[in-house]
Structure formats: C-alpha cells, structure tokens
C-alpha cells in the first residue's frame, strides 16, 4: 500500500495551488490542540490526512466521483471557525430524539454533551480517555479500514477528516459479547453559522460479537439556518462471524453542508445489515465503502433519500468483493422534487479471486417535478468469471393500476398519490431492525409527506428509463 501511495503523491504533486477552502481547512487542523496520549495516538493519522488532503485533486466536473456534485458551496467556509455550541436542552432530547431503549451519546458540534448522554458502558470511550487496551485498538484500527481502499479511490474529505481528528469515539465489542442495548449516537449541529465540525468514530467488533448502532445527525433548531459544515467518518472493523446492524440517519437542516462516510471491513462470515436515510441539503455527500475481506461474509444494505427545494443529496456506494463466497444486496430508493438533485452511484467491484460472489443492487427513483434531477449510475467492475451480479436502475412515475385501485375505493387522486409516494419509501423501512426506530421513521416520513406536497408524485407523463441485469 505504501508503494501505491507514494506514486499517488508523485502523480498529484503538480496539482494546482491550494484554494482558500483548502488553506483554511489545513489552518483549522493546525489550530487544534492535540496533547498527551492523544498526541501519540493521533499524530500520524493527522499528519497523513493533512498530506493527502493537500495533494489531492480538488473535485470538479472532470473528476468522475464528483461529476454531478459541486462542492462550490464550500466557499462559504473559507473563513470558518470550529463550531463550539453548548449542550442541548432536555426539551430537545425529549422532542427531537428517537425514544430508543439504548445507550445514548450526544455530541454537540463534535463535543460530548455529558448531561444529555448516558454513561458509557465498558468498551466505549473517547479516544482521549482510552486505557491501554483501547489505545491499542485505536492504534491498530483507526485509519486502517478507510485506508484499505486503493489510494487512487480515496476520498479527499476522508483524508480531511483524519487531519481534523482531535478526538473521537471508540466502540469496542469483545469476542462473543452481545451488546444488549443498541448504541445511539446523536450528532447535533448547533445554530452557529460559518463553522465546521468533525466527527470520527471507530467501531471494532471482535469474533462473534453482536451489536446495533444508530447514528443520527440532527440540527439543534430546525427552524433556523445553521450553515455548518460537518465532516463525519465512521470506520467499522467486523471480526470473524461478527454481526452488526448499522443505521445512519442524516436529517440536518437544509442549510447545512455534510460530507460523510462509512467504511466497513467484513472478515470471514461477518454479517452487516445497514440502513441509511437522508434528506438533501445545500451539500450532502455520503460515501459507503463496504469491503468483503473474509470468505462467507454477507451484507444487506438499504437506503432512502429525499430531496426537495434546491437540495442536493449524493450517495456513492462502493462494495468491494475482495474474496470468494460473499454476498451483497443493496436497495436504494429516492424521491426528488422541486429543483432538487440526487445522485446515486453504486459501484460493485468483484476482484479476480472473488469467485462465487452474489451481488445485487437496485435503485428506483420517483421524480415529482419536471425540474428535479436524478443521476443514477451503476458501476460494475467484475474480474472474476463465476459470479452472479444483478443491477437495475429506474426513474419512473407511480403505478397507474395502483392509482386506479385506490380511486375505485373512493380515495381521491391526490390522496392516492400521497399514499403511493409514501408507500414507495415506507416499504424499505421494514428492513429497519428496531421497532421503535421504524415507527419513528415512519411517522417522520408521514409528516414529511403531509406537510409538503413536493415529494408527492404528480408527474404523469414522464418517460421511464431503466437498465437491468
């Protein structure tokens, strides 16, 4: 890996001078104080991250991974400072958070809000509070999961996240341990403007460990623009036969910019069940990098995105089948209305050795206005010859037969359209493991559809396009 990194540096060394955002981003990293044990733990990661970020090619239309998503709005942060909101109110906790029976940890602008959080159980700690065992886990895993991707494909904002890692959260589940309570991580953005926040989370599940983790991004006050830039990276190492349910919900105010990523390495027979739901914002880019590293590993991953107004939401998923006999099943659905834009780029990379792979991917979209835009692209790279790989992508309107059926029972066309648009998304919520979470999401979704018709499909004569198998 070090060899390829060197060549990457040489390749990009002649890059254009840093833009004002890049300069400010590096200055912000330099401002952070990382001292004591944390300094020893994180300095290499930070340095490497800063170097990679500095040398990386800046996103633009000609960079494939950023073809449809402009990061122009990052100009807003050329003089940004670190966000430093205070703790959240009890009212916020009771009204805005999901009433899960879980270990809840609330971070406000990246800082743990102890008053709103539960006590951390064994195995969970901040990097800055790591004991010897935790420090060893951090040393051997942090940056390694995200770093296992080839240098050419590394996302510069993941590098920036490393450069910005002053502290972070470690969730460690030991061998054969079943975590009874889910871990509910809440990342709150305060109402400050022109600020940035960084989140870094490391999850290590050892052999046959079992856990559920819910990550929830939320704005402290949904009625005011907060205009923060959040960079959030979660790395997950799943040991042999480990089982993880991972859910990530991005529901910040639409004025927020968010670039986030989840990287998972699955070892032999590991099982990942993932779910993600996002609403668009002025910039929302989410990368999932899921790597099958051990035979017999399997993953199911469902995602939902909704975008309206002038929002943007961009999901880039990449599943690497590096070894034989693994499965991946991915289902994404989105509804895009008004002048909003969505991007779904689903990459499946099946390595030469990865025989007997079973990989399926489906992406369906509803466009609810003639000015909305969806860019969906399956990207398959298959180097093994004995695999089953299926993909399909559609952009369509509501089913006329279903509309007729509802109307024939006395339901008005507008209500029927709302029910069908809701159902299109709600169908995927059934894969959410926790009933409380499922109910919360369903009622959130119901509110969203009833308060705003922009996500209800009224477009009747769109030409459908599709690709299959």
């Amino acid at each position: 890996m070090s060899a390829s990194m060197t060549s990457n540096r040489q390749h990009t060394a002649a890059a254009a001078p840093l833009n004002a955002f890049q300069q400010q981003a590096l200055a912000l990293a330099a401002q952070q104080s990382v001292v004591g044990d944390n300094e020893r733990l994180l300095s290499d990661l930070r340095k490497q991250g800063a170097q990679e970020f500095e040398l990386a090619t800046w996103p633009g239309r000609k960079i494939e991974q950023w073809k449809y998503t402009s990061v122009q709005v990052l100009k807003d942060y050329e003089s940004a400072v670190w966000a430093n909101g205070s703790g959240v109110s009890g009212e916020f906790v009771s009204e805005r958070l999901i009433p899960l029976h879980a270990t809840r940890l609330v971070f406000v602008d990246g800082v743990l809000d102890s008053a709103a959080s539960d006590e951390m159980p064994d195995g969970i700690c901040l990097f800055s509070q790591a004991d010897e065992l935790a420090a060893e886990l951090i040393r051997s895993n942090l940056g390694k999961v995200s770093g296992s991707v080839s240098a050419a494909r590394r996302n510069l904002f993941a590098s920036l996240n490393s450069a910005w890692t002053q502290d972070g959260l470690l969730i460690h589940v030991g061998r054969n341990v079943v975590l009874e309570k889910p871990v509910y991580l809440v990342y709150v953005s305060s109402t400050q403007s022109n600020v940035v926040t960084n989140h870094r989370t490391l999850v290590v599940l050892e052999q046959s460990a079992n856990a559920r983790i819910i990550e929830h991004f939320v704005s402290e006050d949904n009625s005011v623009a907060c205009s923060s830039f959040v960079n959030s990276l979660t790395e997950i190492q799943l040991g042999q036969n480990a089982h993880l349910h991972h859910t990530r919900i991005n529901l910040e105010h639409e004025s927020a910019a968010h670039i986030g990523a989840v990287h998972v390495n699955l070892m032999r027979d590991a099982v990942l069940k993932g779910f993600t739901l996002s609403e668009g914002s002025k910039l929302k880019r989410l990368d999932y990098q899921l790597n099958h590293c051990g035979q017999g590993a399997s993953l199911n991953f469902d995602g939902v995105y909704l975008a309206r107004h002038n929002q943007l939401v961009d999901y880039h998923t990449c599943i690497e089948h590096r070894v034989p006999n693994c499965t991946s099943q991915q289902v994404f659905r989105g509804i895009v209305g008004d002048k909003a834009k969505a991007v779904f780029n689903g990459r499946i990379h099946i390595f030469e050795d990865a025989q007997k792979t079973l990989a399926e991917m489906s992406n369906r979209n509803l466009l609810t206005s003639n000015t909305a835009e969806i860019n969906t692209k399956p990207e398959l790279e298959i180097y093994a010859d004995d695999v089953k790989c299926a993909h399909g992508a559609t952009i369509s309107q509501l089913d006329e037969t279903a509309l007729y059926y509802l109307q024939s029972r006395g339901i008005s066309p507008s209500q029927a359209r709302m029910m069908l648009s809701f159902g299109f998304i709600n169908e995927l919520l059934s894969s959410v493991p926790d009933e409380t979470l499922q109910d919360w999401l369903e009622s959130w979704l119901r509110d969203r559809f009833s308060e705003d018709r922009s996500l209800v499909s009224d477009v009747r004569s769109l030409s459908a396009s599709g690709a299959g198998n």
């Binding site: 279903a402 024939s408 029972r409 339901i411 066309p413 029910m419 069908l420 159902g423 998304i425």
Partner: protein, 249 residues
C-alpha cells in the same frame, strides 16, 4: 338502481361493448356469463371509469345519476364497488391505512361522522374474521404477498366495510379452491339484504350454486344475447357458449 342503455365502449381502440342493455333493480342478483373476450371484464371497468376504457355512446344511470359525469372515486363514494379480478399489490401502504381511507371517503360522502381509529379497527377485525382472514393481514401492505384466495377475500372484506349499493364481482371465483369459494360466497350472501344489488361476472356455473342469481345473462360479442334464470347457467355449463355466439352474429 342501475340502468344501462345501448352502451358502446372501446378498449385501446378496439370496440368491445356493442349496444349493451341491462336494468338492475334494488336487491337483485344478476349473473353475467360468457366466453373469453365477450366483454365481461370490460363492463366492470367501464362502469367504474378506468382510464383507457372509453365510452363511445350510450347511457348509464346509477341511483338516477349519470354515471359518466362522475370521476372514478365519486362513483365509488356513491356506492359502486368492483371486486377486482386481479387485486393490486401495494407494498408500503398498510391494508389498514388503505381501508380506513376508503371508509372515511365513503362516510364523508354519505354525511356520516368519521369513525375513530378504535372503532374502525374493531370493525375491520370483525370483517376480516367474517372472511377468515387473519387480522394480522390488516398490518401488512395492501395485498402484498397475499395468495390468490387471500386477495379475493380481501376484496370481499372491503365490500363489507364500504357497504356499497351495487357490487360487481369480476370473476371473483377464478382461481379459488372450494373452501375459499364457500367463504367468499357466504360473505356475499350475508350482504344480500333486499336492497343491495349484485352483478356477478363469472366463467363458471359452479359459483352460482353458492350465490344464487335472480337473472343469468349471456354476454357475447359485446352485448347480452340471452337472459334467463339460474337454469340457464346449467344449460350453458352443459352446452357451452357456441350456440349462443352463433345466434348473436
């Protein structure tokens, strides 16, 4: 209740109904039989107002109103009900939500107060038991993963909840085993109250042993070519439709 006068209709440019006449009085059960392609299903879809089923000429009045001036949902609220030959699956929309929306719309039209969720739930459970559907089905997506028989029973349950004035059963018996057929028929018979009328569209005489009609009509080439009582159905079962089709040309 329903008066159909010289009805001509097209589907995808093809003439299917050719001057159909039918008069149905309150409380009557009319069976409509006929060979494939005679226009049996078209009749149901034309009456409910499905897009793509175009009326060329003719008149239909329902409860004294011109049916063709009403939208699909208005006809339903007025009390016209079609039990689909192929009920539609709608994943993500629960059966309960669907039924509640339907019943709310009908009650509102009739000037009745909304049922509370609790009362509605109770009613829905009762109806599901009458058609031997596990109440757990109410929580599932509309017809999602239901067997053929379960879908048909769900149609009958909707009929019970909506209490329509005129029910059109479009080949409700097709694909049903004898047990399901008895459940469905019992559900229909329980709703015969002397005021409610039925059009039973079927291919097979067997259904009419369970739902005994007042009239049996034979539909061929888009119009009614013979009308009789339940004995006509037995004659058709024995002789087929060929002799009547020839007469109608």
């Amino acid at each position: 209740m329903l008066e159909i006068h010289e009805l001509f209709a097209k589907v995808e440019g093809k003439q299917i109904l050719n001057g159909l006449n039918l008069s149905i009085k309150p409380g009557e059960v009319h069976a409509i039989m006929g060979p494939n392609g005679a226009g049996k299903s078209t009749l149901g879809n034309v009456l409910t107002g499905r897009a793509g089923y175009d009326v060329v000429s003719g008149e239909v009045t329902f409860n004294g109103k011109n049916l063709f001036e009403l939208e699909v949902e208005e006809r339903a609220r007025e009390g016209l009900f079609l039990a689909f030959q192929y009920p539609v699956e709608i994943p993500g929309v629960s059966n309960m939500e669907f039924l509640k929306a339907s019943v709310d719309a009908r009650r509102k039209h009739l000037g009745l107060p909304d049922l509370s969720s609790f009362d509605f739930m109770k009613l829905a459970r009762e109806c599901s038991q009458k058609v031997s559907l596990d109440p757990a089905f109410l929580k599932r997506g509309v017809n999602e993963g239901f067997s053929g028989g379960e879908k048909k029973r769900n149609e009958i349950m909707q009929m019970m909840l909506l209490e329509p004035g005129l029910c059109i059963l479009d080949e409700t018996d097709s694909g049903l085993d004898i047990d399901a057929l008895q459940v469905v028929s019992a559900g229909v018979n329980a709703m015969r109250d002397g005021a409610r009328s039925f059009i039973v569209v079927t291919h097979y005489q067997r259904l009419l042993d369970f739902i005994v009609p007042d009239y049996v009509h034979v539909l061929a080439n888009g119009k009614i070519v013979r009308t009789g009582d339940k004995e006509l159905a037995k004659e058709l079962e024995a002789k087929g439709y060929g002799w009547l089709e020839q007469e109608s040309v």
